[in-house]
């Protein structure tokens, strides 16, 4: 399977995503420069983390208008998988691939830490390698991760099973401090209605090798591999 990893000016997790795909998953990956108009036959598109365009105007707002986003949106409309991580989630929202928006963390602080997530939907093509309700640990590193949408949208996301990951307390955390950014309804990751676009603030691509801590992100890539290859 071929992964296309988009590099925007200011992306800084494109190499992490490349390593996750090539070294941990053993699949092919290509970098796609944001000014190109060719996905180079990628089966899966990754919008990586970083600070595209310096977060000018709003995080992801300008990258969403990059030339290659035309092709990414078409790929998504054809049902092709798109994985937006961190800044990639922000870009996917700004490109209207996903509902809602990511706002400044409620604490006003950049938060870089491993956090606990609960897998809310293990039937998406990104999450079949997990169990529903499973608690996993992934790193986060963001200043603008507070997912926000109107109540109607939030109800629909929950009703349709589009909330895929939620921040959750583990045994060591106090009840009130597990949500790192004030995200509405503790949402950490969502899919679109068709289930082929996943946006998430935590970084699965940084948690794929035991050497770097719990490799809880690897199952996400393995899920994609099984589902798309099948």
């Amino acid at each position: 399977m071929k992964f296309g990893i988009v590099t925007f000016p200011g992306s800084n997790c494109d190499y992490d995503a490349y390593r996750a795909v090539v070294d941990a998953l053993g699949e092919e990956a290509v970098y796609l420069w944001h000014k190109e108009h060719d996905l180079q036959g990628a089966d899966v598109v990754i919008l990586p983390g970083g600070f595209s365009y310096g977060d000018y105007l709003r995080a992801g707002a300008i990258a969403a208008l990059s030339p290659i986003m035309n092709e990414v949106v078409q790929h998504a409309r054809r049902g092709g998988p798109v994985l937006g991580i961190c800044n990639g989630f922000q870009i996917a929202c700004e490109a209207h691939l996903l509902p809602g928006a990511l706002l400044r963390n409620a604490s006003l602080k950049f938060v870089c830490a491993p956090i606990t997530l609960r897998v809310e939907n293990a039937t998406t093509r990104f999450t079949t390698g997990y169990q529903e309700g499973q608690l996993i640990t992934l790193p986060i590193a963001h200043g603008d991760g507070r997912f926000s949408a109107d109540d109607e949208t939030l109800d629909r996301l929950e009703g349709e099973g589009q909330v895929v990951f939620r921040y959750a307390p583990d045994r060591l955390q106090a009840e009130e401090s597990y949500n790192p950014n004030g995200s509405m309804r503790d949402i950490a990751g969502i899919v679109n209605q068709e289930g082929n676009v996943l946006g998430m603030m935590p970084h699965p691509e940084r948690a794929v090798e035991p050497l770097l801590g719990r490799p809880d992100g690897l199952a996400l890539f393995e899920s994609l591999l099984q589902r798309v290859a099948a």
Partner: protein, 85 residues
Amino acid sequence: MSRFRVAVHVVPRRGLLDPQGKAVADALHTLGFRDVAAVHVGRHLVLELDARDAAGARAAAREMCERLLANPVTEDFSIAEVSAE
């Protein structure tokens, strides 16, 4: 066509948590401005653009706000001022 300056205000939607506004309000309280009930921190943009008339400049700025300058999910905008250069 003539050149116009259009000032645009973009602010967080009322009712949404605005931690930056709250931090500024807290700082103002610290300085003794106890009458400040709330602060909303947004963006002020000045567009210099060519249009047939002021109404045209305003309409163009409105479309820019709807499509890029403001996020319709979380922000409200207003055209604060249109002036000929």
